[in-house]
Symmetry: C2
Subunit: 202 residues, 2 copies
């Protein structure tokens, strides 16, 4: 069995949401599992790279809003939240994910899907640990437990370690897929990832 492919994502990233809907089928077609990894654009983009937020960047912000909606329309994806809406604080969701990945790793992907679907698909507010109590979750996951964890120190420490590891691996954007050490940034790269997996690189 080949190593899982890494899927690095930030919940505030609509492109991460789009890719999250395809990554498992893509991996499965090549006999791979997916290792889901939360990262924080606020750390990579703002602190390490010294850039401003994407949507606040002249020209690029306007283009990105248009591109996101175009992508959603092409693929028929539910997206009640607009790319121009204010960005939530991603820490409660990302901490909850890091905690579930540690304690219920078999449910980590399901939690990521639930959060992405609620935030981007349904336009729900998930910016506080409290708001996670209303999150609809599949069997095996408790919204109460997830919300409690999101407010705790352990989840914060787990997320910090995950984010530090992603920076150390050179990951800066959402989504980034890493196949056997080879990084691919952007939902537009998924077709190339598929070719890379088919050919075993080039």
């Amino acid at each position: 069995m080949n190593a899982p492919i890494q899927f690095h994502f930030d919940f505030i990233s609509p492109y991460g949401y789009f890719a999250s809907l395809r990554i498992e089928d893509l991996a499965a077609r090549h006999g791979r599992a997916v290792d889901w990894r939360a990262m924080l654009l606020g750390v990579s983009v703002l602190k390490v790279m010294g850039l401003k937020p994407l949507m606040d960047t002249p020209l690029k912000g306007a283009y990105t809003g248009r591109d996101v909606l175009r992508h959603a329309r092409e693929h028929g994806l539910l997206m009640k939240r607009q790319p121009t809406d204010p960005v939530m604080n991603p820490l409660p969701c990302a901490r909850a994910f890091a905690w579930v990945k540690q304690h219920q790793p078999e449910h980590a992907a399901a939690l990521a899907h639930a959060i992405y679907g609620a935030y981007w698909g349904e336009g729900q507010d998930l910016s506080t640990p409290e708001s996670l109590r209303k999150l609809a979750l599949p069997d095996g996951l408790s919204a109460e437990a997830v919300a409690d964890a999101a407010a705790g120190d352990e989840a914060a420490a787990l997320l910090r370690a995950m984010v530090e590891a992603s920076i150390k691996a050179g990951v800066f954007g959402s989504p980034t897929v890493v196949v056997d050490g080879e990084p691919f940034w952007g939902v537009d790269k998924l077709d190339q990832v598929e070719r890379w997996l088919s050919r075993g690189g080039w």
Copy 2:
């Protein structure tokens, strides 16, 4: 006959080079001509957007170098210049292009291909008007005339107008393809451009 699709590019952009090799076939498949337009990343990225040069951006610079070489290998493209090599002053080439587009529009695409091939493919230095005298050009174009034009005020004014128009249209990256007012940024977007042309948008 539908309107030409616009192809905005900077000669210092390897992704612009890659896309330049595909854009005419792509357009032709949909009964479109290509309107070639030089832009300057030094204006859009550095001045208007307030960002640093791509290759000087932490994490993103290293990734980009790797991604460029991976793209060239996948498509079997000649590229003697490395993405990490110092960036040339693009003004002489871009001014020469603007001048030829004005005075010999039927040869504008050929000049763009010649410059891209010499700079990225062969790794030649094209950073001064003088260096353009050695450029191999197809019939109908004179390297002497092109080099003289690149050093003149008219070419500078023509390029300035072209760059101002691209900024005004919201173009910030190379390559950007604009189809009937709809912008697509990046060589990774060419497949989506093709689908947009096939379906007439969505």
